[in-house]
Subunit: 414 residues, 2 copies
Amino acid sequence: MTGSICTHTFDNGLVLAAEPTDFLQSVAFTFLVPAGSVHDPPDRSGLSAFTCEMAMRGAGQRDSRQFILELDNLGVEHHESVTSAHTGFGGATVAENLPAALALYADLLQRPHLPQEQSEAARLAMFQELRAVEDEPAQKVMLELQRRHYPDPWGRPPQGEQKAIEAISIEDVRSCFAARYRPGGTILGIAGHFDWHRLRDYVGELLSDWQPGETTAIVERPPGGRYDHLRYDSNQTQIGIAYPSVPYRDPDYFQAWGAVGVLSSGSSARLFTEVRERRGLCYSVYAVYHTLRDRGAVLCYAGASADRAQETLDVTVAELARLAKGVEDHELERLKARIKSALIMQQESSAARSSAIARDYYHLGRARTLDEVGRLIDALTAESISTYLAGRPPGDFTIVTLGPRPLEVPGGIS
Amino acid sequence: MTGSICTHTFDNGLVLAAEPTDFLQSVAFTFLVPAGSVHDPPDRSGLSAFTCEMAMRGAGQRDSRQFILELDNLGVEHHESVTSAHTGFGGATVAENLPAALALYADLLQRPHLPQEQSEAARLAMFQELRAVEDEPAQKVMLELQRRHYPDPWGRPPQGEQKAIEAISIEDVRSCFAARYRPGGTILGIAGHFDWHRLRDYVGELLSDWQPGETTAIVERPPGGRYDHLRYDSNQTQIGIAYPSVPYRDPDYFQAWGAVGVLSSGSSARLFTEVRERRGLCYSVYAVYHTLRDRGAVLCYAGASADRAQETLDVTVAELARLAKGVEDHELERLKARIKSALIMQQESSAARSSAIARDYYHLGRARTLDEVGRLIDALTAESISTYLAGRPPGDFTIVTLGPRPLEVPGGIS
């Protein structure tokens, strides 16, 4: 593995964090812009995602079509995403095309057209995203779980809602862009083949004139109920279960991560073994660690036939509760073997590294090399994780089900 | 890029094809075993997939649980898949764990337990796969499209059918394994960090005693109707369109591939631009090239709201038909830029390379390096693709729709 990440903060607040990996010929970049869905007014939910759609539709000297053509001409595999905290613009290409690709995104960030004549097409794309979620009950239940688990506005689905999207005007989009697309709070993560000094100077040329803006405060409101059932006409029941955990920047993060790994990483992990393999209860079951800057959660999913949904929920909750009794050495050793492979494969992917570096910087104010991550994981012991779990046993569950009938939830949740 | 693929054919027919990439620390392997779903008797459809489920449940000295534990202990990211032609076993891990991982799979291929006491759990897993497809209409329409487009048994969904899976016995599984898991026709593709001579000798130690079996002939029957509608209660309509193309081993393959790229590769490609961006018609539209050994097809998907489904079908078919008029230089140049990036990223992924090498060998009797692929793509011109398309215009469509109402299909299809 390699071992150095260079960072530079420009005067306007923009952060560049970059990890050179000379054996690669590709390079990848991830812009995290502080335009997350938490800033969307309730009657304009989906505004950040709408603005992201519009931001890709022309900038600088290029109209919407020319902008997309040029990205394709540069061989950029690009993707955009909106989370509660950020709008992300990511891409990967061959090293020689990085400067031209970054120049396109510098236009997007500073000189977007946000053209009115494209706003209906963007709105349709937004509606289609909403419908796609409706067609995927397994995705929908996890979005609704987050909405109920996190304090508002942190749990809101970035896709927004039909009525709010209908109401969004081009002025809303332009105000959103003006307020939230700003260098302070923006992080550019880069990984792969590049020269650091030339990259830093070049990013400075492109983006150091970008004008700072103001940070907007977030007003939080308490989360909704602890159990909710959404009626859905199907033979399947989708089950989402969340419980609170520490955020990524907490010193105990790796203990929490290890516990979730024992639950759900690999085919021999507890949830897969106990719920699916041993009892044949459901077609999919998993738990993932999820983090915001100031709080974390474990999000657990199970999809089962409606007639076995109650048993699936009961067995899954029992497995979560059993975690409080600690983990075994052999479980942790397997997790370490799996993660060692995974870290090496991450090092071989510039795209995976560029987004990890940007996210690290957001959470920690610096990025970790994979060598450092490897050392932190090596230091875990079954005892350290068990001690953590004894102090923070899984509980205080939020549960959402989606299916033909509500389920009985464990005592203490209602 | 690197430039050498080593191959060896053992006396029992097993082929090893391997591409060393010294800059990687990972290594990946793909076994393609000639146990494809085309061999499933109609009243036992799903038998290959069932046998694959059972093959992972214990082999050699390890029972089902120990086998999975050991894979996790070795950090192997594994996956299994069944296509019409093959059952595939793939995995990736760090280079030092390759020998132990291959030893596990050598047990699986030669000394599986196929334990009766696990067969109900395997059957449940099969049912759950079936239900998961039912819950994903976009996947279902593409499976049903292939069933109607290809001569039977080539288009059969490997997942099988409920009644047939209910009828599968442990004896069926054991006979299936005995007949189809054999070294003749099995290809082991390996890519990443390894030493060729040691690998070849080691694979010989593990697998050269594997006993050859007999090849089974396939009896083909003509495909079904040209248009079929499957009623599905939803606001969405899923549209699948297929038309015949050349197989991968045809000298014209790259012409056909280029034409599909102009249709569907990148955000500026024709289908995305004309159907989604310009008209805002659907939430997803794509075309992919699909190949069997002796025939190929272009498979096209569009998902739209039910009230815009007819227009989506009409516009999509018109775009396919327009391809006969040829492609433009600038479209091909963009495609070449995109594929150059994609090839470099494939070279950086041992998992992607190991499966590409194995598939190449199946289709061509040898594997292509990415340098060779790059040269073949460089040689394409807009003129060469247009000439190909003039001789083989898209047409003879098979269409399947899934939604609340059937659609009007273009003249000549019924």
